[in-house]
């Protein structure tokens, strides 16, 4: 029979522990985000304790720790997660619990190298860290002489002992997605196309604590219903990090075909982008979003040259965040794979950005040329029409 102890998860908080006076707000938000993402797994408490959140299930025997670990690593602000045993007492308890814990690690009977690392947060505890490590190591060697040998450089198992008011023992660390808790940096509107870049941009900005809503420009019949479904799938993947997402779907074919019929081909993409930014800004203001987020990367395509971006930004009066601006495509794809949006993004459905593409778009456009071209277009009316046709869908892959 294992010794009585509490089975908990330790979620380690990263940079927010540095946030000075705001720290309480940040930790509170993080604990709330965590609580919301985990509550469907069963009754639990999230307790703040120094730079650690303790996740304590009420019924650990019927709690899916692995799923809880996975979900916890997806919550921005968490650096790492340790499944741990928690118990009280003095050095005899620490030794006994260490031996008991190691029994689980060694259950397959194979030999292993190990070391012990200790931390003493409770400075009243009579032994200092090196002494604790030494005594625990000796107890383990004595208990498992055939299976354990010491290796302090490259051990198979590192048993960590933290001496606090209740002590902690663990040997496993799962990395989290780091960042800042969603919702601590205000709210922004992500232009979500269905390609590889925009979900990555959304992920990156959400990891800086932004709450996101999304706008998607739909160009039926030039894009299909399946293309929209793909965007919803991407929003679903993103929602694993951000929590529930709202996607504002704007019917955009009217504006696009008007531009196609009336604008020189080499300016088409640019003016289309400007129209999108105008619509996005309108929605952002209605929804209380203080910035726009796009997946643009400098020089990636003609509409993403410095000149083109300047001309695009000129039509909006709020910050436009472009977290991918300095990344090359491979780096973006690497993130897309890591956050599991890549396979969805590369499904071959047209998106609004590829519907009408010129062979030789202008790469050094002038703002005055754009203004002149737009002067006689029925843009304002079509934008109102598009906003009237807006449909909002809520996406959440997990509770």
């Amino acid at each position: 029979m294992p010794l009585p102890h509490d089975r908990i998860l330790l979620a380690r908080i990263g940079e927010i522990s540095l946030k000075g006076l705001n720290r309480g707000d940040f930790e509170g938000k993080l604990a709330a985000n965590l609580q919301r993402r985990l509550k469907s797994l069963g009754d639990l408490r999230v307790v703040r304790s120094q730079s650690i959140l303790r996740i304590e299930p009420s019924d650990p025997d019927h709690f899916d720790f692995e799923e809880a670990i996975r979900r916890t690593t997806f919550v921005f602000g968490i650096v790492s997660v340790n499944p741990a045993r928690s118990f009280g007492g003095g050095m005899p308890e620490i030794l006994a619990q260490s031996v008991d814990h190691m029994a689980g690690v060694l259950a397959d009977g194979r030999p292993r190298t190990f070391k012990v690392e200790s931390r003493r947060s409770d400075k009243r505890f009579p032994l200092e860290s090196p002494a604790i490590s030494r005594d625990v190591g000796a107890a383990l060697l004595q208990a498992y002489p055939d299976q354990l040998t010491v290796d302090v450089k490259h051990p198979d198992v590192t048993l960590r002992v933290e001496v606090r008011d209740t002590h902690l023992i663990f040997d496993r660390t799962v990395r989290g997605h780091r960042g800042l808790p969603v919702g601590t940096a205000g709210k922004a509107l992500l232009l979500l196309s269905g390609g590889i870049d925009s979900p990555v941009a959304g992920y990156m900005m959400a990891s800086r604590g932004l709450e996101l809503e999304c706008v998607h420009f739909q160009s039926m019949p030039f894009t299909s219903e399946r293309a929209l479904e793909k965007v919803m799938d991407l929003a679903g993947k993103l929602s694993l990090y951000t929590g529930r997402l709202q996607v504002h779907v704007v019917p955009f074919a009217g504006i696009q075909t008007m531009l196609r019929d009336r604008i020189p081909e080499d300016m088409l993409t640019l003016l289309t982008r400007r129209a999108m930014m105008r619509v996005a800004e309108r929605i952002a203001r209605q929804r209380g979003c203080k910035a726009l987020v796009t997946g643009e990367s400098l020089g990636q395509v003609a509409s993403q040259t410095l000149h083109a971006l300047a001309v695009t930004d000129a039509v909006v009066d709020m910050p436009v965040f472009r977290p991918l601006i300095g990344l090359d495509k491979d780096a973006t794809i690497e993130v897309a794979r890591r956050i599991d949006t890549f396979e969805t993004s590369i499904q071959p459905y047209e998106d609004c950005c590829t519907v009408f593409v010129a062979k030789h778009p202008k790469t050094r456009p002038h703002r005055s040329d754009c203004d002149a071209l737009e002067k006689d277009l029925p843009l304002a009316g079509l934008i109102e029409e598009a906003l009237l046709g807006l449909v909002t869908r809520k996406v959440a892959l997990e509770p």
């Binding site: 019949p221 030039f222 219903e225 399946r226 196609r260």
Partner: protein
């Protein structure tokens, strides 16, 4: 709603729905169970099989229920050589087959079976001289698509059968009848067909049920092993709702055969007339004139077919780009390319496929929706 995508699947007849519902409610027993509930289900399945056998002119024991065309095809292509290891490991087919055939042949080829794909001509008809040459080398199986699902091309089975009798009398013939059952004359015995594959949902039956015809005395290795149902040829609990739905659909379909021919031919005439009047964009009819009237493959030069499908779909008219099996992947049709149709034309192809449940008035409405859609899609400059 006008449904012109009947080569992808057909809406069930009301009789099909009734038969499925009745079977689900009243015949839920496992046909292999030793009690009355099981026996009732078994007897209903047996009776349905007898009706299907009569319609095909074959013996009930020559029919195996499968999950559909793909499973029947896989069973024949993989199972024939496996059960007859002394036959030449060589299979002949064409480049214009359904992916169920092509992908299975690719796998067999990777396992050492020689697979030969003969060409088709501009009409989609298998090149008989090429076929004859291919059969000059001993071959265990020839697999042919009776009616092409993308173009409606119908293979000249009388000629093919006499060619086979003349040059390769030992070679077994598998006919993929998924698109042909009840639509064109089927003479399995006269053509010397050893195996044939069928799928219920192509003739207004339920999805997930099909037939495999294996002529008496032929041997196949089963694909699925388990409880030994259907004489060990296809393990897995039999599916009375599927079987009874399929039999009901087949019965109605055969009864309405003349109506089917008249309607689909009349609709085709209206569509061809209307297409000829389109002047916004060059239109090319890719289906052969002698093909199945119900399938019309048309190319609108320079128009992305998916855009046209979307525009029509928004207006409640359902047609398809190539086949449903490849539509989700945006591939240019291998069938059209095999026919020697240039890629630029083939990549703009739309498939309009009709059924006995369509009306001529729908064709008229379709034509106006089509010209409306083209007006929306094509630039106005």
């Amino acid at each position: 709603m006008v449904y012109f995508d009947n080569a992808a699947t057909t809406p069930p007849f009301p009789e099909t729905v009734d038969a499925v519902a009745t079977a689900m409610r009243d015949l839920f027993g496992n046909p292999a169970s030793p009690h009355r509930a099981g026996f009732d289900a078994e007897r209903a399945v047996k009776d349905a099989k007898e009706r299907l056998a009569r319609q095909l002119g074959v013996l009930p024991e020559e029919l195996i229920f499968t999950s559909g065309g793909t499973e029947s095809i896989n069973t024949v292509l993989s199972g024939h050589l496996a059960a007859n290891p002394r036959l030449p490991a060589r299979i002949v087919s064409t480049g214009a087959e359904h992916p169920a055939v092509l992908r299975t042949l690719e796998r067999l080829a990777s396992r050492g079976v020689e697979t030969v794909l003969v060409g088709v001509d501009r009409q989609g008809t298998v090149c008989l001289d090429e076929l004859e040459r291919a059969l000059g080398t001993p071959t265990s199986l020839v697999s042919l698509l009776h009616v092409n699902n993308e173009t409606g091309a119908v293979q000249p089975m009388d000629e093919i059968a006499s060619l086979l009798r003349r040059v390769a009398p030992e070679t077994a013939l598998h006919l993929d009848c998924v698109q042909s059952f009840g639509k064109v004359p089927l003479a399995l015995h006269r053509w010397g067909v050893r195996f044939a594959s069928f799928s219920a949902h192509k003739f207004h039956g339920p999805k997930g049920i099909g037939l495999l015809y294996a002529a008496k005395g032929s041997r196949l290795e089963p694909l699925l092993l388990g409880g030994g149902q259907q004489g060990g040829m296809r393990s897995g609990t039999e599916n009375p709702p599927g079987v009874l739905g399929m039999a009901a659909a087949a019965g109605v379909f055969v009864r309405r055969h003349d109506e089917y021919l008249e309607k689909t031919a009349a609709i085709r005439r209206i569509l061809l007339d209307g297409l000829a009047r389109i002047d916004r964009v060059p239109v090319a009819v890719l289906s052969p004139p002698a093909g199945l009237p119900a399938i019309l493959n048309v190319s609108f030069a320079g128009v992305k077919p998916q855009t046209l499908v979307n525009a029509l779909s928004e207006r409640g008219f359902f047609v398809s780009t190539v086949s449903a099996c490849s539509a989700k992947r945006n591939l240019t049709s291998h069938v059209l390319l095999a026919m020697g149709i240039p890629e630029a034309v083939a990549s703009s192809a739309l498939r309009i496929s009709t059924s006995v449940l369509n009306e001529t008035a729908e064709a008229e409405a379709f034509l106006s929706a089509l010209s409306e859609s083209l007006a929306l899609i094509l630039p106005r400059r």
